[in-house]
Symmetry: C2
Subunit: 260 residues, 2 copies
């Protein structure tokens, strides 16, 4: 049942949510016709909670199968529900593989995508001779030996401002800049798991998965650090990768400019 409107007193406010999801069953974060997406599930839950047909916008577009621990989502509402009531109410209506971690009222100027200053992703590589039921659909498995030191050295070459054109799959949009600022890039081992972490101003289409695929070639001894550097330098599509699967990728956090 939609909320009762008392005259013209309803005030539109903008809410931001931090959302966690297991992307396995979804065709990505953005709405698409006739398939399940993170956006469509959140919009359905919002309708059930508030009676409003809100359109939600997201900080990062994630592909089919990609997971998130800290996706940021915003929408406008006339509901006067408290922030914590949005959290518990949406979690009641959302499927078990999507959950709201927190909610906050923002100014109507807030844009979760444009005002994000940094995005942080992690990619999980299960370095194991056998598959792991407890990491099924959650990590990409590589059976052979990996030189993590070499992968981490290659990561250091990514840090700073670079044209990352070599690492995107988007070759159509030639007008937009492919220059991004990489704040952090590292590869570390935790038992049989190898975790590649990257934090940048923003990422290009498939940039993390193409970069991790290239780092794996360094880790497997199939590519030198010099060759990795020259792939960065050429700014040309086709030398990097191959892209690793989406199900090892996690959008960890989105950071915002001061004031948001």
């Amino acid at each position: 049942m939609p909320p009762v409107v008392l005259g013209d007193t309803k005030l539109k406010t903008r809410l931001a949510l931090v959302v966690e999801y297991d992307g396995e069953c979804y065709a990505g974060s953005q709405w698409q016709p006739e398939v399940l997406t993170i956006q469509s599930e959140i919009e359905k839950a919002l309708y059930k909670l508030t009676g409003e047909s809100a359109r939600v916008t997201m900080a990062g577009r994630t592909d089919a199968g990609v997971h998130a621990a800290g996706q940021v989502v915003a929408f406008d509402t006339e509901s006067s529900l408290e922030e914590r009531a949005f959290v518990s109410g949406l979690n009641h209506f959302l499927p078990l593989d999507i959950a709201v971690k927190s909610a906050r009222r923002m100014s109507l100027a807030f844009d979760p995508r444009r005002h994000a200053s940094k995005r942080e992703y992690e990619y999980f590589i299960l370095n194991s001779a056998t598959r792991s039921p407890l990491w099924n659909g959650r990590a990409h498995r590589i059976a052979g030996e990996l030189n993590i030191d070499a992968m981490n050295h290659a990561c250091q070459l990514l840090i700073g401002e670079h044209d990352f054109a070599s690492f995107t799959s988007n070759t159509e949009d030639e007008e937009r800049t492919t220059v991004r600022y990489m704040y952090h890039a590292s590869a570390r081992r935790d038992g049989r798991m190898v975790i590649v972490r990257m934090m940048a101003s923003a990422f290009l289409l498939h940039q993390v998965r193409n970069t991790v695929g290239t780092l794996l070639r360094v880790g497997q001894g199939k590519m030198t650090l010099q060759e990795f550097q020259s792939i960065i330098n050429t700014c040309e599509f086709g030398l990097a990768g191959p892209a690793v699967p989406s199900y090892g990728l996690y959008l960890k956090s989105v950071y915002y400019e001061e004031g948001f």
Copy 2:
């Protein structure tokens, strides 16, 4: 197709497997009529690989929903397949939520249950105000504050040889001893996850889940360390717990006497 038998030259050998599984879809580790169990899935895969109807035995009986990173399973076979062929062959036929990590030929005297000297379990508690899609079915959620120091102090009271009768749900079998040796017990925090780890000579029915349920009362300030100690001392069913859900429990490792 069963393997071809050449006269009487087939030799029976015993194989031990280390097995990992996500217990969510199974009615426990041990065979039961008309439901899926870990045992029935491994026996089906063995039949597909070797053509033999083997009966497998396991180091630890795990309840419905309980996971394992290092369950130990043994069976007899006349197959001359190499150990690594058992690993890859069984992983080919097993469902994605069960996998063999390693295989080893043992003496025919080897009993995975009787010869196990220590079992190690971990229980995962998600200490979070909201549910977590990435830990759905993998950890028990507690929303409120937990005093991990107090829980860890209570764990220390469990270490050594004790009659753990207070912590079992099995009140029928009065003839068998309920004395066990606890080698390790601890509670630690890793971000929003609280992990209780216990290693003992063996565990009684529901012992880990009843103990963690009692430790949570200590962590929530509902029980003092003195009361926890007196529950150990009384050796009486009904004071401990309530048992926490099975899906937070992991059989981590099984250790064997020298010679196995």
